[in-house]
């Protein structure tokens, strides 16, 4: 007997298990949340956020930490172990964690609050908006599993977190690329007087930007690599992907520039518009996020308003609840892998 999905085409229920040949997945089999982002042959750094926060706390008494039952999964445990009396385990209760962070900020502290991006953006939104952002309090919300960085499925994939938070006044939104940038950004957002949402790459995080002599500056987009045919405008770990794609495309005589935009809001419109206005390049935004409401649309809108009219394409996640599966498989399936980016760019030229 066949069961038809009750509500039509959106059901993912299959009549039977059919293994697929994972393209470029290297035999990945796990959908576990601890699946590595991109470790093949690359240098990594363990828990860069946690170690940076611990360093910061050594210098600043006002730094306190909170987590909603996810300290070990957001690298907050490094800080918590070093400063147990400055860490507040708030339990599985994101609303009170965010509200309490606001209360601590009211009393002069600089709280770092961690959870998963889905829970901060979807569950705690009203609390972040009214208790923190409306009053411009210096709370730093740092969230693991941004975009598609877990194969657990939509409950844990924060594919629209940037869209949600870009609309919140006063909030600075940061999407770092790698371990070095995560550590630098942790110090930079602590120095910023207002509220911040930062996407977190946790655990063993690749070290990519160091060899380019890059240093994070809050609110600044920076050219990592120049090129004459394509201008990638990217954020988060997608900068690491487009740097690899640029190498790949260079072999096919396609010369790609990479403009890294780790601060999604406020957007560095001046630099982005100036780079896009340099003649003759296809502008390709690349983000670990739905194509709706994230970096791509932010850049498109900024260029339109600046009067910069250029060919424009987006690499990003589709407007769908995504599948469960192994991360490399999913990244390829949804167009975020180096292979997929390279193929897309060639098809657009």
């Amino acid at each position: 007997m066949t069961h038809e999905p009750p509500f039509g085409a959106h059901s993912r229920r299959k009549s039977k298990y059919t293994p697929r040949v994972a393209p470029g997945a290297g035999g990945a089999r796990t959908s576990a949340m601890i699946a590595s982002l991109d470790a093949e042959g690359r240098e990594t750094v363990a828990a860069p956020f946690g170690h940076a926060l611990r360093e910061l706390a050594a210098a600043r008494d006002d730094i306190v930490g909170l987590s909603a039952d996810l300290s070990k999964y957001t690298d907050m445990h490094v800080f918590a172990n070093a400063y147990p009396d400055r860490f507040y385990q708030m339990g599985m209760a994101e609303q009170v964690m965010i509200s309490a962070a606001a209360g601590l900020a009211r009393e002069g502290f600089t709280p770092f609050a961690t959870t998963y991006a889905v829970f901060a953006s979807r569950r705690a939104y009203d609390f972040i908006a009214m208790a923190i952002a409306e009053e411009n309090l210096p709370v730093k919300i740092v969230c693991a599993l941004p975009g598609l960085t877990t194969g657990y499925g939509p409950s844990h994939q924060a594919t629209e977190d940037l869209a949600i938070f870009r609309g919140m006044p006063n909030l600075t939104v940061v999407d770092p690329c790698d371990a070095v940038e995560t550590a630098q950004a942790t110090h930079a957002i602590a120095a910023h007087p207002g509220p911040v949402y930062m996407r977190l790459l946790r655990g063993k995080v690749p070290d990519v930007l160091g060899r380019y002599g890059y240093k994070f500056k809050l609110g600044k987009a920076q050219t990592i690599r120049d090129g004459r045919d394509v201008l990638f405008v990217s954020s988060g770990f997608m900068t690491m992907r487009v740097l690899d794609a640029a190498e790949r495309l260079a072999a096919d005589d396609v010369d790609c520039a990479v403009l890294h935009v780790p601060t999604i809001k406020p957007l560095d419109v001046e630099t982005i518009a100036a780079e896009a206005a340099k003649s003759g390049r296809l502008v390709v935004t690349a983000e670990n996020h739905t194509v709706i409401g994230g970096l791509g649309e932010a850049v498109a809108g900024a260029l339109m308003r600046a009067g910069v009219h250029v060919p424009f394409r987006q690499v990003g996640l589709p407007d769908e609840f995504l599948d469960a599966g192994a991360l490399p498989t999913l990244h390829h399936q949804y167009g975020l892998s180096v292979d997929a980016i390279s193929a897309s760019v060639k098809s657009w030229l």
């Binding site: 507040y88 339990g91 609303q95 009170v96 309490a100 209360g103 009393e107 609390f127 208790a131």
Partner: protein, 283 residues
């Protein structure tokens, strides 16, 4: 100057303070011709006790580090708190006429960014107690002995986030936190007790681990005793005072109205209400 009005505040009785709060609120309600006057009249007695008996603050220095904090979750009760803060000298009484008007410092929903002495931005219900948890933690971290008062409403107890905060306050042994629930059994769509199961009130808080008292929130003697007990309680529990109040208390023809959450009052009725109040001015 440390204004501890309970001790330093002359011979003005709490009954007279409550009367003045009601009168200020009526004058503000008249400016707009409508509003949350029912809540203000109902909460006037408990605000007389917080602001003229229980709390330590300096009227001219709303940010004084040693002050007891007063967090108003229920933004629409701003009219009531403004009335109390005007009586306390935190806000000047000549701003009564600006209530809810363009560019006023007294918006209809209380916001920290508009009004001196307004500690938080309320209005989205279920936020205040959680913020209070964090601030109470902060006070302890600073070894500041101030109390943190949070005025919340019965309707607000329907928000799940309130109960996250209820549990958290117990977890952190926040003996410096005093929650005050104005239980008037009225929310936007009707009686609170017909909306979500709300009884038994005090037993529920006590079961969560709070030092809970339930009183007639329009009885000044009961209020004084309850606030004294809440402050003096020796245990590590956070404290809650559930105040059963009557909407529109003190103005009988308004008390009799069925719908009192947001009431419209005819122009001549403001005069009538003020006359009733003025006829019963306490010593």
């Amino acid at each position: 100057m440390t204004a501890d009005p309970a001790k330093a505040g002359s011979n003005v009785s709490l009954a007279r303070r409550a009367w003045a709060i009601r009168r200020n609120a009526l004058l503000m309600g008249e400016v707009q011709g409508q509003g949350y006057i029912g809540q203000a009249l109902g909460a006037a007695d408990l605000l007389a006790v917080t602001h003229f008996h229980a709390m330590r603050y300096r009227p001219g220095e709303p940010e004084w580090e040693g002050r007891d904090r007063f967090y108003l979750s229920i933004g629409h009760y701003a009219i009531a708190l403004y009335a109390a803060m005007i009586e306390a000298g935190i806000l000047p009484d000549d701003e009564i006429a600006t209530y809810g008007m363009d560019d006023s410092r007294l918006p209809m929903s209380g916001m920290a960014s508009y009004t001196p002495g307004m500690e938080i931005t309320g209005g989205s219900l279920g936020h205040g107690l959680g913020i209070a948890v964090g601030a109470a933690l902060g006070l302890k971290r600073k070894q500041n002995p101030a109390f943190l008062y949070n005025l919340l409403s019965d309707g607000e107890l329907g928000e799940g986030s309130t109960w996250e905060a209820v549990m958290s306050a117990v977890q952190w042994k926040l003996d410096n936190l005093i929650a005050v629930v104005d239980f008037n059994n009225q929310q936007a769509d009707g009686p609170t007790r017909e909306a979500l199961a709300r009884t038994p009130e005090a037993a529920k808080w006590a079961a969560f681990g709070w030092y809970a008292q339930e009183i007639d929130g329009n009885d000044l003697n009961a209020l004084v005793a309850a606030f004294d007990a809440a402050r003096a309680h020796a245990g590590p529990e956070p404290r809650v005072i559930i105040c059963n109040t009557r909407m529109c208390k003190g103005i009988p023809f308004l008390e009799a109205r069925e719908k009192t959450h947001f009431i419209r009052v005819e122009p001549d009725e403001w005069t009538k209400a003020l006359a009733i109040l003025d006829a019963e001015k306490p010593e």
